[in-house]
């Protein structure tokens, strides 16, 4: 379970938000909302241990993540704006790299199958469309069993069908006791899952 107390985030010299406090338990999703530049991405990067918080503490399973960084990283999956996919490799090769980095519970080919892009497993990513690339990136959600998903705008560039697919993937994840922190501009329907909203200030 992720718990945040008095968190302050800043980008460069600019303080984006102070005194943030929330918690995300098993089976719960948190949606960070706010206009562009309100600090959604910075918040997610801070939670993903990419940027240090400028104040406050983040707890994972009751312990400050600064003390259990390695373990926390193993249980968290962060997908940012950048797909983090190598264009000169095939989707299959890309996923194998991530499978090696740790935590893989599914075969890469099954993960691609799950995202409906098995057909392109051996095509170089350079020849795929933006939406297909995002699907390759999202296949990592199936690849690993991380209990905490941190997703920055996961619905960007996806077609209707894939959005539904991703939504049901999220529902499944939450139903199995996972947690998710998401930013999105799209209305999100997650069935019975408990979704809380975190509004971030307007500038």
């Amino acid at each position: 379970m992720l718990q945040v107390e008095q968190l302050a985030i800043s980008r460069g010299e600019r303080i984006l938000a102070t005194d943030l406090g929330f918690q995300v338990g098993p089976g719960e999703a948190l949606v960070a909302e706010g206009p562009n530049g309100s600090g959604k991405t910075t918040l997610l990067r801070t939670l993903a241990t990419l940027s240090p918080p400028s104040g406050g503490t983040i707890y994972w399973q009751g312990q400050p993540i600064a003390e259990v960084t390695e373990a926390y990283r193993g249980e968290m999956l962060f997908l940012g704006h950048n797909p983090a996919i190598k264009l000169d490799l095939t989707p299959m090769e890309n996923l194998k790299v991530y499978a090696r980095l740790g935590g893989a519970v599914t075969e890469p080919i099954a993960a691609l199958e799950g995202m409906g892009i098995r057909r392109y497993a051996a095509t170089r990513c350079r020849h795929l469309s933006a939406g297909q690339l995002r699907r390759v990136a999202l296949a990592r959600l199936i690849l690993t069993a991380a209990p905490l998903w941190i997703l920055d705008e996961p619905f960007t560039a996806l077609d209707r069908q894939t959005i539904d697919g991703l939504s049901s993937l999220l529902e499944e994840h939450l139903a199995e006791g996972g947690s998710a922190i998401i930013t999105t501009h799209q209305p999100l329907s997650l069935g019975q899952a408990r979704v809380s909203r975190l509004p971030l200030g307007g500038g």
């Binding site: 990283r73 962060f78 797909p83 983090a84 190598k86």
Partner: protein, 213 residues
Amino acid sequence: MRDLLLANRSRADYLNPIVFFLLIAALFPLAVSIAPENLRALGPGVFWIAAVLASVLSMEQLFRSDFDDGTLEQFAIAPQALSIVVLAKLLAHWLVTALPLMLVSPLLILLYQLPASTVAVAMLSLAAGTPTITATGALGVALTVSARRGGVLLSLLVLPLYVPVLIFGASAIDQAAHNLPIQGPLLFLCALSLLSVSLMPWAIAAALRITLE
């Protein structure tokens, strides 16, 4: 490993430094003098300067694409230690840049009319010296990768650090050409390489984390 596969997919990027290496070396005699005794005196120095410049040229690509497409972020938050990933990347980079330099180096030795016996020494000195160059240069790249035009900054940062390698590398070849013992400079190069390869991955990983913040 992934980087080797990638390198294989974009060969031209990695051929450039080698051509650059040969070209620099070929330009010197044209500009200075083609008298064999001059060439022999210049050879070892030019050889290593060309090798160092070619390495810096190829260095910049080390983290560039990973930084641009977000892969570096993923490596930074992966359960696998970042320094291990860095070490693997260094090894892959060394294999695709330094190894080819070693393979074409005999050409250069012959071009400068150095005794054939120095060919082996030149290759040895590259083998002993280039790990330092790769590891130290990578630290510079890690610090400058977020800068838009990091290339010049990178050269300013790392070229001074290459001075010891340059001195010992060139002197190894020079001494071999004069039939003097070569263990001294070669062992120095090995020591520098061991030191930098064992310590640099941690420094590079730390620098990358700062860059990514």
